[in-house]
């Protein structure tokens, strides 16, 4: 790790200078050119402090609508923290200070009058390890609709069936909907969690290294689901594996030490990165 860092240092003559240039140009590009549609999530000058550590440093980013955006970067660069500010899960931790804006459909979600439940309902979260609720397969998917007021049994069954079909789990579990969710294999559990998130009809899917605990076959299944789901949802994935970003990303954001270094379309980032740090990371000089 240390020798790698030293090498990076050498590459950049004046890091701050380069950061500035890069950021200005990138912001313009982001807003004006890259998207055909308007951004779904806009992050503006976001600073996050966790127990006085400056975790996110002045991050500005536009997440495009109905596309897969992958956030890449080495461990501890603030990817997950950024993701957690999107659905305001971060504020449950102790000693957090959040400055700046996160706009979802143009509304600042850290604003005073915003109902946090509505924000979260808009976003399905897929965590690192699948985390089913301690109930049956059916009840897991029905949990969200139930808390949002769907009581009709037939309607619930419809929702559960549709969402389980959407994640390709229906055929595997239709005989044992009443069985505990914990009995499923870990890959099935992750798809169940995705179905559970989809059941509250979100607009955005957030994935926090959603495949890192899965075997290659289960990973492929989840990735294919993301590819088919991006027609209807905006998908933001934090990922540790560059290959995954290469396979499925439409847009890539590269973060390093709490700063957004570069953001652009996947082809641009992978074939012609503008920033030296990005080039090194993608080239595998450090990870």
């Amino acid at each position: 790790m240390i020798p790698n860092l030293l090498r990076i240092e050498k590459h950049i003559d004046s890091p701050t200078e380069k950061f500035k240039v890069m950021k200005e140009s990138q912001n313009q590009v982001a807003v004006d050119q890259i998207f055909k549609t308007k951004p779904h999530i806009s992050v503006r000058n976001l600073n996050v402090y966790l127990t006085k550590n400056h975790i996110l440093k002045n991050v500005s980013l536009d997440i495009p609508d109905k596309a897969i955006t992958c956030i890449i970067g080495p461990s501890g660069c603030g990817k997950t923290t950024l993701l957690k500010t999107f659905n305001r899960l971060l504020q449950n931790s102790v000693d957090v200070k959040i400055e700046g804006e996160v706009l979802v459909d143009g509304v600042n979600i850290h604003g005073k009058d915003v109902e946090v439940e509505n924000i979260r309902k808009k976003m399905g979260l897929l965590s690192q390890r699948p985390c089913p609720l301690p109930m049956s397969i059916f009840d897991n998917v029905a949990y969200g609709p139930r808390i949002h007021g769907t009581r009709n049994k037939r309607k619930l069954y419809e929702i559960v069936k549709n969402q389980l079909e959407a994640v390709g789990l229906w055929e595997e579990v239709k005989e044992r909907l009443k069985a505990p969710a914990i009995r499923l294999s870990i890959g099935q559990q992750q798809r169940l969690c995705l179905a559970r998130g989809l059941a509250v009809s979100p607009e955005i899917i957030l994935g926090d290294e959603a495949t890192s605990a899965l075997d290659p076959i289960a990973t492929t299944k989840i990735e294919q689901l993301f590819l088919s789901l991006k027609k209807e949802y905006s998908i933001v994935l934090v990922t540790h594996t560059l290959r995954q970003a290469r396979r499925i990303a439409d847009y890539v954001a590269f973060m390093y030490m709490g700063e957004l270094i570069e953001f652009g379309s996947a082809t641009e980032i992978f074939t012609n990165p503008k920033h030296q740090l990005t080039r090194d990371y993608i080239g595998g000089s450090f990870s």
């Binding site: 659905n87 979260r120 965590s127 609720l133 301690p134 949990y143 808390i147 949002h148």
Partner: protein, 284 residues
């Protein structure tokens, strides 16, 4: 090579020590049960569990302990219900609503740790003072109240331990579906249901067998109470009073009462284990 032999030796010695510790405890507990069964079983009869004391019961004649059996069950059921309806909200409040490392939560935990260690006679005395202050006489209600004081620390500390171990990711998963804090209580309770049952078993054991807390507060009577304001007999006091009798038959009945008490605790524990297993099938 020698080193290896020493290691093996160590392993053997520690294994022997652990086995010895286990055996000493198991054997002595077993001896208590043998003593209870040996003296109590001959005194057992159907009358013992189906009749209230007759006129000559305390000199070794007709009647049984139904008053104490029902009384003990009343007290334990009442105090578990009352205790749970206070401890569950307290535990959920300090775990879900108070921030991590909250002073109030830490203070609450500390005070229940201290209350845990207070001898039951002190609760009895406190209950008695409270009774006098409120102008109550010894009654089923006062007994339930005092036993509740006794078991609430057990309930809270043991439920708190399991609620704290609920994975944070699980709460995040429910929250990210748009659940409010009160809506995530349901999955949390499902997750900790086996732990709650363990807490109940522990407190039943403590509450049903405790004599000192009910001595001043619940009183003693030969009849089965029909209202909360009437005094009530309990098995531990039945044991206590009959054991101090000079008549051997009556003393034997004390052992019979102890046998009944042990049996009740056994049945309740087994039932608890059964339900605990049933509830844990969905546990993550």
């Amino acid at each position: 090579m020698k080193h290896f032999r020493v290691k093996k030796m160590e392993e053997k010695i520690f294994k022997a020590l652990m086995m010895a510790a286990t055996m000493i405890i198991v054997v002595s507990l077993f001896m208590i049960i043998v003593a209870v069964v040996k003296r109590g079983l001959p005194a057992m009869s159907w009358d013992m569990v189906s009749k209230i004391p007759g006129g000559g019961f305390y000199i070794g004649k007709e009647g049984g302990l139904l008053n104490a059996i029902i009384g003990s069950l009343y007290i334990v059921i009442g105090s578990i219900t009352l205790g749970l309806s206070f401890s569950l909200p307290i535990v959920l409040y300090i775990n879900l609503y108070l921030p991590e490392k909250s002073r109030l939560a830490q203070f609450t935990r500390l005070s229940f740790d201290v209350l845990f260690g207070i001898p039951s006679i002190v609760y009895g005395a406190f209950g008695f003072t409270l009774m006098v202050y409120l102008g109550l006489r010894s009654s089923l209600f006062a007994g339930i109240l005092t036993v509740t004081f006794l078991i609430v620390p057990i309930l809270i500390r043991s439920i708190d331990e399991v609620v704290r171990r609920v994975p944070k990711e699980m709460m995040d998963a429910a929250l990210s579906l748009g659940a409010t804090r009160s809506e995530i209580i349901k999955p949390i309770l499902r997750q900790v249901a086996p732990g709650i049952i363990t807490a109940i078993i522990l407190s039943v054991g403590r509450g049903i067998g405790d004599a000192a807390s009910v001595l001043f507060t619940a009183g003693y009577t030969d009849s089965i109470p029909t209202s909360l304001s009437q005094p009530v007999a309990t098995l531990p006091l039945a044991i206590f009073f009959q054991l101090s009798s000079p008549i051997v038959e009556v003393q034997d009945r004390a052992y019979a009462a102890a046998l009944i008490l042990t049996f009740i605790v056994l049945v309740l524990s087994l039932a608890g284990r059964y339900y605990s297993r049933k509830f844990s099938k969905n546990k993550i």
